[in-house]
């Protein structure tokens, strides 16, 4: 199945242990015990890579935010206070594990590009290993059980991140979202929709195998990306002046601004990327990485940890926008219009 065109891929796999109640209905001692057993298993033999187990109470806000920004932790887990929670990262971030969130275990994987099948094969292997130690709550009718009945089934959610600025600009996302809603898929804004970034995911996992879910999302997203490409070409054909103007302005701001918020930075990078795709501009500083990779490292916690020694505690500090602008000036240096 062709899944080309995904900006980024994410996967979540929900599992519960059969001997205990789901986290929201279980008592502290039992949850703490489960976490200890899981952590012990993660430190045990047989894994290809090492697990790094985090002490959530000892993590600073900015470190938690950076894990969320990398797609290693879900926003809802980061915000949920709660007892018995644990968290671990596999290898260099190839996968991660949330312990005692909404469910006992949730394996996660997130990476740039069209990688859903690769993520599934990795998470499934990690799942096999965990299953050797824990007896999962499973029912032949419902599949893997979850605290949220809607999530029972394969327990898998696949997330495809798409870059759709032309569809956003021309108001075509609404219709697409409604169409997807009819198929049990959600289309939601990523980063409040800056730069036309959206994420498509399956809401339920009943009645479909993991491969069917991945294939459905891949083929639907492939169609959406094709549509985005043709709308971009149409915009250039029918409104060449406005199209070139918007892209040129983005480049100008990126090259000369001294303070840039994160959503604005995403809009700039998005517009310049469209210019590069349409052959209107060249941006040598962007050649080395994907637009998504660039956007990702411009996120607040990334800037603070990677470029400011992690010293700023407040993620709203104006210094972050200043640092971001400086990075953008460097990236867009040498970029210009191809006439």
């Amino acid at each position: 199945m062709n899944s080309a065109g995904l900006t980024a891929s994410g996967l979540g796999l929900t599992r519960n242990e059969s001997g205990r109640r789901f986290p929201h209905a279980e008592d502290v001692a039992a949850l703490e015990e489960l976490r200890a057993e899981v952590v012990e298993t993660l430190g045990g033999p047989g894994w290809d890579r090492e697990w790094h187990v985090y002490d959530l109470d000892a993590l600073a806000r900015v470190e938690i935010d950076r894990l969320v920004e990398r797609g290693l932790m879900t926003p809802v887990f980061a915000e949920r206070p709660g007892v018995g929670r644990g968290f671990a990262v596999y290898g260099e971030g190839e996968a991660s594990l949330e312990i005692n969130g909404a469910d006992h275990l949730r394996l996660l994987g997130f990476r740039g590009g069209s990688q859903l099948p690769a993520l599934w094969s990795l998470l499934s292997r990690l799942d096999d290993h965990l299953e050797a130690m824990f007896s999962y709550a499973f029912d032949p009718r419902w599949g893997y059980l979850s605290a949220r009945p809607r999530q029972a089934g394969s327990g898998m959610r696949a997330y495809a991140t798409l870059h759709l600025p032309a569809m956003a600009l021309t108001g075509r996302l609404a219709g697409t979202a409604l169409e997807l809603a009819g198929k049990g898929l959600a289309l939601v804004p990523l980063w409040t929709g800056a730069g036309g970034m959206v994420q498509v995911s399956n809401l339920g996992s009943q009645g479909k195998s993991e491969n069917e879910i991945i294939q459905q999302i891949s083929s639907i997203c492939h169609g959406i990306v094709e549509k985005e490409r043709s709308i971009r070409k149409m915009l250039l054909r029918e409104n060449p002046l406005q199209t070139r103007d918007q892209i040129g302005r983005a480049l100008g701001v990126g090259q000369h601004a001294w303070t840039v918020s994160f959503p604005e930075a995403v809009n700039l990078v998005s517009a310049v990327q469209v210019g590069v795709d349409l052959g209107l501009v060249e941006a040598p500083g962007m050649a080395a990485e994907s637009a998504f990779g660039l956007m990702s490292r411009l996120q607040p916690a990334h800037i603070v940890v990677d470029y400011m020694d992690g010293k700023i505690g407040c993620l709203q500090s104006p210094e972050i926008d200043e640092c971001r602008a400086q990075l953008l000036r460097g990236i867009f240096a040498g970029a210009g219009a191809l006439v």
Binding site: H24, F110, R141, A147, G153, V188
Partner: protein, 194 residues
């Protein structure tokens, strides 16, 4: 990163939410509208959602997700027809002895408390999740080391489906073979200690 999710996506197990615009139809679409970076949430029926989507100008984003349990209207009619006229209070008094979850807890929070809940509230979950479609066996990955009985039940459900298909296309001889195998597995299941 994974996109933020609206906390109330998991609500509405009963399908009682009514469209916020016309106040008439069941709200099956959760609409997120992003204008100037601010996100607003509305629960709408598909008709109203479509008109909102059309009215919104190019610079605003209108995004929709299905209100969580698909076929809410169907599930609701189903429940109204079958449970309410008979004994709604009996139904609501259902509770799980393992975790203490009651049917009204489940309806309110959309959460079950333990594996046993899936058996206690099977009828409700069946109607809320599957609508009128027939229960089928879970088609994906299954635990390799699960209890023997799980694998046995899985195989039985697979064979039952095969049997129905064979009978439907009048391949009776093969169907008889499958039926014998089913009887045999059924006996083995009886012998398994729970």
């Amino acid at each position: 990163m994974f996109a933020e999710e609206s906390p109330d996506w998991n609500l509405d197990l009963t399908g009682s939410a009514i469209c916020e615009m016309c106040g008439d139809e069941p709200a099956t679409v959760h609409l997120l509208r992003v204008v100037d970076g601010t996100v607003s949430h509305t629960h709408l029926c598909p008709g109203c959602a479509e008109s909102v989507a059309e009215e919104t100008d190019g610079l605003a984003l209108v995004l929709a997700v299905p209100s969580v349990l698909r076929d809410l209207s169907k599930g609701q009619v189903h429940l109204d027809d079958e449970t309410e006229p008979t004994a709604p209070s009996d139904q609501d008094a259902l509770f799980c002895a393992v975790c203490g979850t009651t049917l009204s807890d489940l309806k309110e929070s959309g959460l079950v408390g333990c594996a046993r809940c899936y058996q206690i509230f099977a009828e409700y979950l069946e109607s809320a999740l599957a609508g009128e479609s027939e229960p089928v066996e879970h088609p994906g990955k299954i635990p390799q080391r699960g209890p023997e009985t799980d694998n046995l039940r899985h195989e039985i459900m697979r064979l039952q489906r095969m049997l129905r298909e064979l009978v439907a296309c009048e391949r009776f001889e093969e169907a008889a073979g499958v039926r014998d195998r089913l009887t045999e597995l059924g006996e083995r299941l009886e012998e398994e200690p729970e």
